[in-house]
Amino acid sequence: MKWIPNFNSSNSLRVIFVVAVFILLFLSSIAYKHNRDLDESSKVVMHTYEINIQLERLMSAIKDAETGQRGYIITRNARFLTPYIYSRDKVNTSFIKLKKLTADNPKQQQNLQKLFKLIIQRFVSFENCLKYSDPKTYDKRKLDNHMFGGRILMENIRFQVDEMNDIEKNYLANRLKIYDAEISLSPIFSISLFLVALSFILLAYRQISRDFERLKVYNKKLLISSGLIAESEVIGKFSTWQWDLDTSKIDYSDNQYRLLGYEPNAFVPEKETFLNFVHPDDKETVAKSMEEIISKKQLPFVYYKIVLPNHDIRYFKTTGKLLTDQQGSKILLGINFDITDEHLLNIELQERNSELEKSNKELASFNHVASHDLQEPLRKIQTFVSRISDADKEVMSQSARDYIAKIQISAKRMRVLIDDLLLFSRTNTTKKEFIKSNLNELLENAKGELTEVIDEKKATITTSKLPKLAVIPYQIEQLFINLIGNSLKYSQPDIAPEITIESHKVNSSDYPDLLDQNVKKFHKITFTDNGMGFDPQFKETIFVLFQRLHSKTDYPGTGIGLAICKKIVDNHKGHIIADSTPNQGSVFTIFLPD
């Protein structure tokens, strides 16, 4: 029935139940009343017929008396007086009974009184008749009168009795009519109510059976669900437990027992006994968090070790959340993770990390110190050679002068190498402070460092506006110096170098193979020159440390410059690529994240 929409099933069932009960009560009250009425009506009928009977008895008694009297009068046999004598008693008895029976009807009482009077008169008449029929006191005339009067009295009595009977009969008829009227309705009423009740009960039945079906389905799902959860706990190596804070009852999921090294339901979980599983080192921490559960009703992450029955140690991570269920009781839902594997892995990773860090530090400091300490003796060599004055050279042989010149060249080369190595080692510094810098300023500084070469080669440098970025300023300056320096160094002979520096903002999606797609935008800065260029097949190897494309006599270079550029760009999480057309020029492109 669609017109009972919003009731949830238990409410509707209750309503149906209550209504049905009411209907039943109502029905039974009707039945009861019906019964009572029946009872009443039969009583009334009885009552009426009782009166009727008594009245007839009365009549009969009087008639007996009359008959007796007549018989006696006729036969003068005393035996005929017996009924007459008894009849008086009978009359009295009947009369008393009638008085009782008509007690509720004043009219009848009146009639009764009338009747009584008549009867008395009749008996008086009887007496008189007897008297006057007695031979001793025989009086025919009086006898005839009284006999006649007696007959009239009898008729009156009969009349009165009939009247009384009629009254009773009418009374009865009326009552019966009323009962009939009442009774005729109730069966229909009862049947319709019965039908209503029946329909309600059918409705309820339908609802219950539907609910039942649903419950079965849910139950099935629940079973599957809890089965899955239990399985997932085993697979995922975690477990759950519930702590009812009001009753202090603790429930473990099956896997919780297993994680602690026991079979499910091997023991009854209790707050106090849990600490027995905890490793001595962590007992205090765990005890404290258990206290916090009670006092603060929360359980932030707590890490501790568990000792299994076989003395193995496992690492646990536990957290919990307070839940309030529908009945209002507070339950702390706790989750344990066995993180032993991750923990051990972590420890291993950490150890390896620190080894690597140490090794790195050593390498870096070795690099730095080596470059630094190598400078000293080199500087001495160069300085002492420079001390050999022209006058001294005059007195040397040509070969000696040549050798000195060669020493100077080699020393200079070594100097450049060490300087570059030192620069390279510096780009490896672990402390990297990124400061928001104006790249235009850094470019100006770089150009300043190269002023001499720029002027000497009459180079023109055209720059477009560079952005402001968070960078390591010294390193970016070095990057610019190296790139511009390279362009100047590898310019075409007799052609003034022209270097163009441009900057654009690009999306990392435009260069999916090149750029880190996690960063959306990059700044693309290109350094284009009209120098000699290089064979494009080397466009990746030129960034490799110590890779050179020319012999050192042709072009002084250490092969470190571009490696430094790459290192610097890597430090900034960017990218550098190179391309070139031999004898036309090269383009170096750097991408720096926004």
């Binding site: 300023e441 500084n445 300043g448």
Partner: protein, 183 residues
């Protein structure tokens, strides 16, 4: 509380000289930075005593005539550089007029005595003023370049770097960090 004090060396020195010379009852008049004329003629001992009195405080009695001229040249240059409105003055003209010698002569004397040129000294003073302006921190480099008659900030930066070896911005940074260290 931090106060920036700009002090006028001239005033300080004059006061100090006055204080000292008064003690010796020497009457004098100040002719320019570092030049006083004493009314009386001091004899050698008195002059010696005066020299001894003044030298511990960093005052040197200069006796050489050429040195005196050089000192005047320097004063004039300082005046030129630190003037508020010096747009129209060409330094050679200014000096020649002010000191009543040809610029060539002044140039020679200066080089002879100091082993360095007037131009260098001018640059030195300009950069010195730039440093002061940078320290006070109320003007941008552009404004400073403009005030000191440089054609551009780049020009100022280049000269600053050539003279001191560091860029104006590096200088600013260093001064700022020095101040922070003192806190």
């Amino acid at each position: 509380m931090k106060l920036f004090i700009k002090f006028d060396i001239n005033t300080i020195c004059s006061l100090f000289l006055k204080h000292n010379l008064d003690q010796h009852n020497v009457n004098f008049t100040t002719l320019g930075f570092g030049e006083i004329e004493i009314s009386d003629n001091l004899d050698a001992n008195a002059l010696e005593a005066l020299k001894n009195k003044l030298s511990p405080c960093g005052f040197e009695v200069v006796e050489n005539q050429k040195s005196v001229l050089v000192q005047k040249i320097k004063d004039a240059i300082i005046e030129l550089v630190f003037m508020e409105d010096n747009n129209n003055y060409k330094s050679s003209v200014f000096l020649a007029e002010k000191l009543n010698h040809s610029y060539g002569y002044l140039s020679n004397v200066f080089s002879e005595v100091t082993y360095s040129s007037i131009e260098n000294f001018i640059i030195l003073q300009k950069i010195e003023r730039a440093k002061q302006l940078i320290i006070i921190n109320e003007m941008s480099l552009t404004e400073i370049a403009f005030l000191l008659n440089y054609s551009s900030v780049a020009h100022l930066s280049t000269q600053f770097k050539n003279t001191t070896g560091i860029t104006p911005s590096a200088f600013q940074r260093i001064i700022k960090k020095r101040r922070e260290n003192l806190k």
